[in-house]
Structures are given as C-alpha cells and as structure tokens.
Symmetry: C2
Subunit: 256 residues, 2 copies
C-alpha cells in the first residue's frame, strides 16, 4: 500500500522542489518504486528531473479538470523505479476552474487513490500558496513534509501553514499528519540559522529531522543540468545530506 | 501625480519583499512620499517594516472585498514620508472571493486610483503566484519591477511572467510597462549567477539594472528586527546596494 506524502510550504523559495526532486531520486536508488507529482504551474520539479516541456502531453490538470485516468498521465524518467506526473502551464488556470466544481477539494485525492498501490511512495511538490491546488495536495496526502528555510520570514509563515493543516484535518482529511520538518539552506555559521533551528525544535521536538540541509551551490546548479544532486555531483555536501535525510526518512517509516 | 509600481515574480523567494521594503525606505529617505501596499497573505512586508499584527485593523482585503475607502487602510510607519497598507491573513481567502465578482481584475486599481495623488510613489509587494491577487497588482500598476534571483529555476520562470504581463497589457492595462529587472541574491564567485545575469542582459539589454544585489546575510537578519537594511546596518553591503539601486531607479524616473 503506497504512501502519499505532500511537500508543502506557502513561503516561497524554501526548498520544496529541491527536496521533492532529491528525495524521490534517493528513494528510487533505494529500490522504492516512487512517483513524483508536480502540482506547481512553474513546473520546476519537472525540469529538475530532466523532463523537457516538448515531451509532456498531460499534467495533473488533466486528471483534476478533464478527468483523464491517472495512469495515462504517468511518464518514465531516466532513472529506474522513478516515475513522474509532470506539470504544464495549464495548471495556472486550475485554481479558478476548480473554484466552482463540486467536491473541488477532493479532485486530486480521487485521482491519486486510483494509482496509490502501484508505488511504494507518491511524493507531491506543491506551489508557494495556500490556494486550491495546495488544499488538494493536503487532502490527497497521508502526511505532509515541510521544508523550512532557516530564515526569519520562513519561520514567520510556519504558524499559518500549521493552521491550514489543522483546518484541512478538521474538514477534509481527518488522518492528515506531519511527516516532519526539514531545515533547509542552513548556514550554521550565522546566528539566524541556529536561532531558527532552535526555535522550531523547541516547538516540535519530535518532528524536526536531525539531518540539516546546508546551503550548497551544487544543489542550485544541478537543476540547470536537469539532474538530481546524486546524479550531478555525488561528492557534494548537498548529495550527502539528501542521502542522509532519505535514510532518516526511511527509518521513520519503519517506526524506528 | 504619483507613480504606482508593482513588484512581481511568481517564483518564490526571489527577493520581492526584501526589494519592496528596502526600496520604499530608501525612497522615503530621499524625501519621496511613499506608500507600500502589502498584497501577500504572508504579510512579510508588513513585519519587515516593523508593524505588529496586533496593531493592524484593515488590509487591502477591506478595499477589494468590503469596499472600505482606501484612506482608511493607510497606517504610519516609524519612518517619515513612509506609509503602509498592511496585509492580514484575511487575504488568504481573497482570491476565491474575487473569482465571482464583477470586474474582479480591476478592484485594486479602483482602490489605488483614489489615493494615487497623495504620494510620489506607491510600491506594491505581491505573493508568489499568478493568481487573481497578482493579476490585480498588474492591472493597478503603471510599471512592474521584477526581482530576479540569480538561479536556474528563477530564470526558467521569467518567460511565464513576461507572458502574463503581455496578457494583462492586451486585456486590462494597455500602458503596463516593465520598470526594470533587478538581479538579486547574486554570488558572483559562481558561474551560475554570472550565467543568469549574462543571459537576462542578453534578452533585455535596456531593462536590467546595473546595480546587482549580492547575497548578504545582514539582509536576511534585518526582518527579524522589523527594520529595513538602512536602519538595521547602514555599513552592510546590502544597505549600500539598495541605496545604489534606489539612485539608479530615481535617475530612470527623470529619463536619464
Ligand atoms: N540547500 C540549498 N543550497 C543552495 N541552494 C538551494 C538549496 N536548496 C534549494 N536551493 C536553490 O534555491 C532556490 C529555491 O529552491 P526551490 O526552488 O527548491 O524552492 P521552492 O520552495 O520549491 O520554491 P517555490 O516556492 O518557488 O516553489 C532554487 O534556485 C534552488 O536551486
Ligand atoms: N540579497 C539577499 N541576501 C541574503 N538574503 C536575502 C537577500 N534577499 C532576500 N533575502 C532573504 O531570502 C529570503 C527570501 O526573500 P524574500 O522573502 O524577500 O523573497 P520573496 O520573493 O518576497 O518571497 P515570497 O515568494 O515568499 O514572497 C528571505 O528570508 C530574505 O530575508
Ligand atoms: Mg518549487
Ligand atoms: Mg514576499
């Protein structure tokens, strides 16, 4: 029975896509059959995995609005055990189109439930907002993984995100839980990063991962080559940390 | 006659709020009467200028949805010549509420036109999306300032933003122009930053500012003290660059 995990944070540029692309590629290396769903109209996760726009025919938009069956949307990637439902710019209009639909919050859940058992993990990358697309992600997923940039504005936004998660749990998805909070773009030489990590660990002692992703230029270079970090520069600190994170993530699945 | 400038880019975390907060504070120091409008539900620009949530009564939401007259929304800041229409979390629901309204794209324009002549500059910070709030910003403004993070994903998103600007120009705001493209978070020691700047300068030779904002930790510390950079650390490279940028911006207004 596959697990569906949403990666969400309405604060922009905190490492949602970077975490999505690198988690799925490390999971596939660990022989877990994994699907990445790109629900962001910017389609960064799609290009981060090397998928070219001209080869993309369908996106999750087609399951939400046109009711095309989800298996039709899935594409292979260059990596074994790793599949993707890419994004296209059609998604830009999705939120307005969803607004007047019946059961508008459940459209993504209805689609992904049909393919849940084809994978060990389904990981969903979401846009930087709390609109209907992200609401759909939070309704569709079992747990939500929160990348937290170690900066002030990102910490400020955490309360709003947690309130939204609670609202979704109360109204649409009663078993929604937090998978974990991953500190990203940390610069441990600065007080700011240390303060943010200390503060969030104080509030959620058992939810913050021990692995911290530092700022590492190789992580921001990899997308321009369409490759996850472990295929772009395996010796980089970014690759090491995402491999460590994936190990910690998998241990938590076994309840360790 | 006040000029209305929107700061927009749907890519998250590229420096929209940091540019908005620091541009308005440098303009006010240059004795320009300036209003910052925070249209992002995250309300980062509001806290970046030291406004506490508990002191905020109204936001732009009240002009868009409840039709409260705009002068009622304006608050003073700690800095002379600098005023703000803050944001509140009410704005999270604004996009859905705007969807079914008549003239939904013009609501912000209608509100800001009423107060345009009270200021030399009205600067609008927008959320990381191309939804109805950002569309309202692009319809309300004379020109749009585009902060461009010097990274691959941010460059990738530029085309989608420019297409949206063109669509708005064709349908809602025929005189909408680009104020300029400001390179942000640049690390000129890396190839990536140099490549992004070279590429965008190649496409838009006369639109890219000569001033480049480098990555500078003091810029990310300042918001935790609720201060613009020139009041947090005047000696920092971040303060120097935003003062230079404001000078270049003002020269462009005089057609120099
Ligand atoms: N640990 C890191 N070190 C250095 N750069 C990073 C790191 N993580 C992400 N980046 C870069 O920072 C930028 C923002 O990251 P990313 O796009 O993954 O965030 P996001 O939350 O998905 O953004 P959005 O809100 O726009 O969806 C990207 O250019 C990315 O390459
Ligand atoms: N030049 C810079 N050097 C270092 N840090 C910066 C710089 N500019 C912005 N930052 C920091 O980077 C983060 C992202 O910047 P900011 O919040 O201004 O971007 P934004 O585009 O407004 O994000 P959003 O898309 O969420 O609205 C913030 O934590 C900010 O303090
Ligand atoms: Mg992203
Ligand atoms: Mg912002």
């Amino acid at each position: 029975m596959g697990k569906i995990i949403g990666i969400a944070n309405q604060k922009g540029g905190v490492g949602k896509t970077t975490t999505a692309v690198n988690l799925v590629s490390c999971l596939a290396r660990a022989k877990k059959k994994t699907l990445l769903v790109d629900t962001d109209p910017q389609s960064n996760a799609t290009s981060g995995l090397g998928i070219e726009k001209k080869n993309v025919r369908y996106s999750i938009y087609d399951a939400l609005i046109r009711r095309i069956i989800p298996t039709e949307l899935v594409m292979k990637t260059d990596y074994s055990d790793l599949f993707i439902i890419p994004s296209t710019s059609d998604l830009t209009g999705a939120e307005i189109e969803l607004t007047d639909m019946q059961d508008r919050e459940h459209k993504m859940k209805d689609a992904l439930e049909q393919i849940r058992n084809d994978y060990d993990y389904i990981i969903i990358d979401s846009p930087p907002s709390l609109g209907l697309l992200t609401v759909n992600v939070l309704v569709a997923c079992d747990t939500v993984l929160i990348p937290l940039q170690c900066e002030y504005y990102a910490l400020e936004g955490l309360t709003q995100l947690l309130n939204t998660i609670e609202r979704i749990r109360d109204n649409f998805n009663s078993s929604l839980a937090i998978e974990g909070i991953l500190p990203t773009m940390a610069d441990l030489r600065t007080n700011l990063s240390r303060q943010v990590i200390a503060e969030v660990t104080n509030y959620f002692p058992d939810k913050v991962y021990k692995t911290i992703i530092p700022r590492n230029v190789r992580l921001s270079e990899a997308p321009s080559f369409g490759k996850p970090i472990v295929y772009y520069d395996m010796r980089s600190i970014g690759a090491d940390r995402y491999l460590c994170f994936t190990e910690e993530f998998l241990k938590a699945q076994n309840g360790e």
